[in-house]
Assembly symmetry: C2
Homo-oligomer: 162 residues x 2
Amino acid sequence: MSNSEKGPVREAPVSLTECGAALAIEQVPDRWTWLILREMFYGVSRFADIQTDIGIPKSVLSGRLAQIVENGLAKKEAYRDGSARTRYAYVLTQKGRELAPVILALMQWGDKHIKDGESALSLTDKRTGNPVKIGIVPKGGALPLRWLNYTPVDQPSDVKDG
Amino acid sequence: MSNSEKGPVREAPVSLTECGAALAIEQVPDRWTWLILREMFYGVSRFADIQTDIGIPKSVLSGRLAQIVENGLAKKEAYRDGSARTRYAYVLTQKGRELAPVILALMQWGDKHIKDGESALSLTDKRTGNPVKIGIVPKGGALPLRWLNYTPVDQPSDVKDG
DNA sequence: TTTTCTGAGTTTGACATTTGAACTCTGCTC
DNA sequence: GAGCAGAGTTCAAATGTCAAACTCAGAAAA
């Protein structure tokens, strides 16, 4: 990033109430909320599945899901597993889905700086199969989210795409 | 995003310990840490400046800064304001600076979904002056961070760039 | 020399949140 | 009508947060 270098900066040029980043942080304020959203990106949508996958206490999960729904990041949808009674799944809304670049940027950063360059998920352009990443692009130059394809790299898993 | 749609996903394809995003979240786990990093991106580096800018209790700031330094996101640098005694500033390392795409993606999302499209910061390509954004790009197609220029949009502020 | 000032903390004690375990509620299926 | 399972709620203990008061270092003023 860049600004003029005349003396130390004594305050942010954009206040907390006007800064999109600060406002976004209010809606995704903590570790658990991030991890829950990560699960939802992967398509994990049920209370118990999320709970065991990330090891969150049920009481906390319950509260976080309520916030997530209230903020419009996900919605509670009825589903029926076989002939069992109606249950609920939490699925991302458009607003929630559009957090994907944030999560992916986070992943890219973690892969580079914590995993020393090893990535557990490969991202490609669904049409061409070419690898993609998150980065700075001229306005209008980004690929739409719906062209993004992801495949786990290493461990034999059940999610795959074609 | 995309995966095959045969039944609900019951667990994430990438475990917490292998997922770059999950590992990244461990290093930036909460609201305060995000807000502190936001300050540092803007160049605010002094304890007292960060403290009053985001309204964090000193005791919490002290702890968070220690974590941030320990995780290698920033380093504590001596500085001397005029002839006064040596003091310390917290400045981002390369690792910390490379969180920029995450913060900017967050900002972009907040501007779109919380501020209804109004942005307080305009991002441009430093060489051409053309507007840029964060998005999905073919590998190798992203602009390097050092070409990024940001200018506060509206409020008469002291940070400017040319 | 002693005092004052200021940035950068630490300490304190009241308050809030998180945790894990146990409990509840609901409506199928046996 | 008993058992079961998913999705919670409730509880007490541990942990974290907050605001205010206190400490510490060293330069400068008195």
